[in-house]
C-alpha cells in the first residue's frame, strides 16, 4: 500500500470533511474506445487539485463529464451531495461548477463585458416579458449585472480600456482572463480550468498561479486544474491525480507523484 497514498485533505480550512466533488467508478466509452476507465476521485472543499497525464489520457473527457457535456457511461458524479451524472450542463453551472476551455471558447463577437454578463445568465431572473417591458426591476438587474461583470474583469486584471472591446480583438492573454472572469461570473464553488497556462510565458504562468491561490483564499473557491506545465502543477496543487490511457495511475501530493515510478513511466516511457 505505498501508492496511491490516501492523504488527509490539506489543512486549508475547517469543515473539509465531505468532498465538494466526488466521482465513483466513472467510465466513458465512445463506441469501442474507452476514454475514461473507472476513475474514482475526490476534491476536498477549498483545495487546488490537478489532473495531469500525457496527451490523450482522457483528461478533457473527464472534465466534460464533470460539466455535463458528456454523460458517464458508468459510474456516478456527486457534487455537494447531489448526483449530477445525468444533469444538463446549464443546471450543473447553476449548481456551482464553472469552467474554462482548453482552446478558448469566448463568444467572439460579443464584448468582454457581454461575455461576462452571459456568465451570469443563470443568476438572472428577467424573462421574455420582463425583457420586453423592462420594468425598474429588470433595469436594475441589468445595471447590477453589468457592474458585476466589470468588477469581475478588473478582478482578473483586464484593463478598463478594453472592457468594451469585442472578445475577438483581445490579446491572447486577455482572452484567457475574460474566460476566467466569465466562469467566475456564475458564482461557482468549483472552478475547472482546462490548461489555463497554454501559450503563456513563464511570467504570465507565475502570475496565474498566484491568481489561483488568491481565488481560493479570497473567494473560497475550489479549483480543479488540467495542466501540462509541471512547474505550475507542482507549485500550486495540493493533490495531483495522474491519468494515463483513461485510468488513474497515481494520486497524491506533488512530491509523491513526482517520485512515483508509474508516473515517470507514463511520461518518459519504460527504462531499460
Amino acid at each position: 500500500m505505498s501508492t496511491p497514498v490516501e492523504m488527509p485533505p490539506p489543512a486549508t480550512g475547517p469543515g473539509s470533511a465531505a468532498p465538494l466533488l466526488a466521482t465513483e467508478h466513472v467510465s466513458k466509452t465512445f463506441g469501442g474506445l474507452v476514454a475514461v476507465n473507472d476513475v474514482t476521485f475526490e476534491i476536498p472543499e477549498r483545495s487546488i487539485v490537478s489532473i495531469i497525464g500525457p496527451n490523450g489520457a482522457g483528461k478533457t473527457t473527464f472534465f466534460n463529464m464533470l460539466t455535463g457535456l458528456y454523460k458517464p457511461s458508468v459510474g456516478r458524479i456527486v457534487f455537494d451531495g447531489k448526483d449530477i451524472s445525468r444533469t444538463r450542463p446549464d443546471r450543473i453551472t447553476t449548481l456551482g461548477i464553472a469552467r474554462t476551455f482548453q482552446n478558448i471558447r469566448l463568444f467572439a463577437t460579443m464584448s468582454a463585458v457581454e461575455n461576462v454578463m452571459v456568465g451570469q445568465h443563470a443568476r438572472m431572473k428577467a424573462g421574455l416579458i420582463g425583457s420586453i417591458l423592462r420594468p425598474p426591476k429588470v433595469r436594475r438587474e441589468e445595471r447590477d449585472v453589468e457592474e458585476k461583470a466589470r468588477e469581475m474583469l478588473s478582478y482578473v486584471g483586464l484593463a478598463k480600456s478594453v472592457h468594451d472591446e469585442l472578445a475577438v480583438n483581445l490579446s491572447y492573454g486577455d482572452q484567457r482572463r475574460v474566460e476566467i472572469a466569465r466562469a467566475l461570473a456564475s458564482d461557482p464553488r468549483l472552478l475547472l480550468l482546462d490548461e489555463p497556462t497554454a501559450g503563456m510565458n513563464p511570467q504570465e504562468s507565475d502570475r496565474l498561479t498566484a491568481f489561483m491561490r488568491r481565488l481560493r483564499d479570497e473567494r473560497n473557491l475550489t479549483i480543479l486544474l488540467i495542466e501540462h506545465d509541471m512547474k505550475v502543477v507542482m507549485g500550486v496543487s495540493e493533490r495531483i491525480t495522474v491519468l494515463d490511457h483513461g485510468e488513474k495511475i497515481a494520486e497524491g501530493d506533488p512530491i509523491e507523484v513526482r517520485a512515483n515510478p508509474l508516473v515517470v513511466e507514463a511520461y518518459l516511457g519504460k527504462q531499460g
Partner: protein, 386 residues
C-alpha cells in the same frame, strides 16, 4: 450615415429617435394619396411584411436558427381570424352566431366573431402552441437539421390548408376552405375608433399596421439588449460554451422561436382581415423564402436593415415587378408576364447581395465582423443561406 452603414452600434435613445421619426413620417405618407390609392395598399403590405421579417429576425438573425417554414405561422395566424372572425362556423349557437365585442356589422352575422384585439391574443396562443409543438423536438437539433424540419413543418401546414376543405368535423364544418378561401373576414373594429372599411379608406389599416411595426421594433430592440438577447447570440456563436455558462439551450431557443412565431401569427391575422379572405394558395414554401430574403437583403440580425430589406422586397414584389418593369419582356419581343418570374428575380437579388455585400444593406456589427474577419463559427448559417 456612413457610421450606420459600417455597422457601428447605435445607442438606445438614438434608435428610439429614429423609430419615432420614421414611424411619424410613414404615418403621414398616405395623406398625400387618395384614401383608396394603390400606393397605400402597397404600403400596408410592406408594413405587414416588416412585422413578419422582424419576427423572423429574432429567430434567424438573433438566435441563428434557420427557419425555412415561417409561412406556417403566417397561415395559422390567418386561419385564426378565418375561424374566429367570419361566418365559417355558420351554425354555431343555432345559426345565431357567437360574438365577443364584435363590430356592429359583424355582430348580426352567424358564425364566431371575436374582436380583432382578441383575435390577436388567440392567434398568439395558437401560433405559440404550434411553435412549441414543432420547436420542442426540433430545437435539440443543430443548424441545418433545424432548417430541414422547419421546412417540412411549413409544407405540412400548407398541405393542411390546401386539403382542409375535405377535412370535416362537427356539423360538417371544414377545417379550411382550401383554395376556395374563407371569406369574408370581419374588418378590424377597434374600441373608440370607427370601424375600418376598405371600401372607404385604406388609411386606418395602414396606421394600425404601423402600430404593429412599432411594437415589433420595440420588441426587437429590447430583446436584443437583454439577458435573452445575449443568450441567443451566445448560442449562435458557440452552443457548447453557452450551455457551460448556464444558458439552457432548448428553452432559450424555444423562446426565440415562439416570439418570432407570434409575430408571424399577428401579421397573418392582420392580413387575413385586410384582404378579407384566407386562401390556402398564399401559404407556399416560397413565402417563407420571401420573408427570409428580406432579412438577408437587409442584414441578418440588423433591426433597421431587416426593416429596410422588407420594405424594399415588398415594393419590388407589389410595385416594381408588376407596374414598372412589367413591359420589359415585350420590349425584347417576348410574350410573358414579368410577375411569373418574381421568385427568379428575388433569387437574383439575393445572389447580387451575396456577391457584392454579403453582410446585407445595413449590417449588424457582429455579422459584419464574422464576414469580414472570418470570426464566429459553429453551425452558423450566414453565407450558406439561400
Amino acid at each position: 450615415m456612413s457610421a450606420l452603414l459600417a455597422g457601428t452600434p447605435l445607442k438606445g435613445r438614438e434608435n428610439f429617435a429614429i423609430a419615432v421619426v420614421a414611424l411619424a413620417a410613414a404615418a403621414l405618407l398616405p395623406l398625400f394619396f387618395d384614401p383608396l390609392s394603390n400606393i397605400t395598399n402597397n404600403c400596408i403590405l410592406a408594413a405587414a411584411y416588416v412585422v413578419m421579417a422582424l419576427g423572423l429576425n429574432i429567430v434567424v438573425g438573433f438566435a441563428g436558427l434557420l427557419d425555412l417554414g415561417y409561412v406556417a405561422f403566417y397561415a395559422l395566424g390567418a386561419y385564426t381570424i378565418g375561424w374566429f372572425a367570419s361566418d365559417h362556423f355558420s351554425s354555431v349557437d343555432g345559426g345565431e352566431g357567437f360574438h365577443v365585442a364584435a363590430g356592429e356589422f359583424a355582430s348580426n352575422l352567424p358564425g364566431i366573431h371575436l374582436n380583432f384585439l382578441l383575435i390577436i391574443v388567440v392567434a398568439v396562443v395558437i401560433v405559440g402552441i404550434a411553435g412549441m409543438l414543432i420547436g420542442l423536438p426540433t430545437l435539440r437539433l443543430r443548424g441545418d437539421y433545424i432548417a430541414i424540419v422547419t421546412l417540412a413543418f411549413g409544407e405540412i401546414i400548407y398541405r393542411f390548408a390546401i386539403n382542409g376543405d375535405e377535412i370535416n368535423f362537427a356539423e360538417g364544418y371544414k377545417l379550411t376552405n382550401g383554395r376556395q378561401a374563407i371569406s369574408p373576414i370581419d374588418s378590424i373594429d377597434l374600441p373608440f375608433f370607427a370601424p375600418f372599411d376598405s371600401a372607404f379608406s385604406l388609411r386606418p389599416f395602414y396606421w394600425f399596421c404601423l402600430v404593429l411595426v412599432g411594437v415589433v421594433l420595440l420588441v426587437n430592440f429590447r430583446l436584443r439588449d437583454s439577458r435573452l438577447g445575449r443568450a441567443w447570440i451566445a448560442i449562435r456563436e458557440d452552443e457548447v460554451a453557452a450551455a457551460s455558462m448556464g444558458v439552457p439551450l432548448v428553452k432559450t431557443k424555444l423562446l426565440a422561436y415562439a416570439t418570432g412565431a407570434a409575430f408571424g401569427g399577428i401579421s397573418g391575422a392582420f392580413l387575413g382581415s385586410y384582404l378579407t379572405s384566407v386562401n390556402a394558395n398564399n401559404f407556399t414554401f416560397g413565402f417563407s423564402i420571401f420573408i427570409l430574403a428580406m432579412i438577408i437583403l437587409g442584414g441578418l440580425g440588423s433591426i433597421w436593415g431587416v426593416a429596410i430589406g422588407a420594405i424594399l422586397l415588398s415594393f419590388i414584389n407589389t410595385y416594381f415587378i408588376p407596374d414598372v418593369f412589367n413591359t420589359v419582356p415585350s420590349k425584347f419581343g417576348l410574350d410573358f408576364d414579368l410577375t411569373i418570374l418574381n421568385f427568379g428575380i428575388f433569387g437574383f437579388l439575393i445572389l447580387l447581395v451575396m456577391v457584392l455585400r454579403p453582410q446585407g444593406i445595413l449590417p449588424e456589427r457582429r455579422r459584419a465582423l464574422e464576414l469580414t474577419e472570418g470570426v464566429g463559427a459553429g453551425d452558423a448559417i450566414e453565407v450558406r443561406t439561400p
